[in-house]
């Protein structure tokens, strides 16, 4: 009995190597964002939050209106890349926490497809980190958006 107890105590927690999932099916809802904000009220060392939200635009392209964007990704590579971005951002900025959620599948015009949320003691770190994460997500994550037109057809989205 005693030996077993010691053995149990000695069990070493294996560090989770799998990167955190950032992908959600469909749009990010306003209530989900509210829940995420509310969770931070116990972290009383935080003085500033910065949130970026990407919303699908009903762009007019050659007489056709974008009704939705269909997102796909190369999941394993995207999560590895996001993990590396996260590490770099936490090394560079004095952040308390950071949360990223990106949609996959169909997100209609007016709905939210990207939610980046950074928090820190003072505002500069939260604002600058959020800005940098958004730029890196757009440039470095293997994600593709297919703009679906209202009547028929589609075109592949181009980031600028």
């Amino acid at each position: 009995m005693e030996t077993k107890k010691i053995a149990e105590r000695k069990t070493i927690k294996v560090t989770e190597k799998k990167p955190k999932n950032i992908f959600v099916e469909g749009a990010v809802s306003a209530l989900f964002i509210a829940g995420s904000i509310a969770k931070h009220s116990t972290k009383t060392g935080i003085g500033a939050h910065n949130i970026f939200l990407g919303q699908v635009r009903a762009d007019l392209i050659d007489d056709k209106i974008v009704a939705a964007i269909e997102y796909t990704t190369y999941t394993e590579m995207a999560l590895e890349k996001m993990h590396a971005i996260r590490e770099a951002i936490f090394n560079k900025y004095d952040l308390t926490c950071m949360h990223v959620h990106h949609s996959l599948g169909t997100v209609k015009a007016g709905e939210i497809s990207l939610f980046v949320f950074t928090s820190s003691k003072h505002r500069r770190a939260a604002i600058d980190a959020c800005n940098e994460v958004v730029e890196r997500i757009k440039k470095e994550l293997p994600v593709w958006g297919k703009e679906i037109f209202e009547d028929a057809g589609y075109q592949w989205k181009v980031n600028n």
Binding site: Y74, E76, E80, H102, S113, L114, L141, P142, G145
Partner: protein, 75 residues
């Protein structure tokens, strides 16, 4: 070896994955694919081996994970 195809390239190739055999390097892969899919010559894309974008010709080991990535457009 399975080649993963993403975004607009899946329209060009007509599939989201391809099986190829006896390919020793990424340059050889691209040459073969361009012969089979001439429209690929006009497409903009990068090649990832084992989930890292390569900058120059790369040897393909058995079991390598190869992917063709058109310009990203997330967010």
């Amino acid at each position: 070896m399975i080649i993963k195809i993403f975004g607009q390239l899946s329209d060009v190739i007509g599939s989201s994955s391809l099986e190829v055999n006896d390919i020793a390097s990424t340059d050889e892969l691209i040459k073969n694919l361009q012969l089979k899919y001439p429209a690929l010559t006009n497409s903009k894309y990068r090649v990832a081996v084992n989930r890292n974008i390569i900058q120059s010709n790369t040897e393909l080991q058995t079991g390598a994970e190869v992917a063709l990535l058109p310009p990203f457009s997330g967010g």
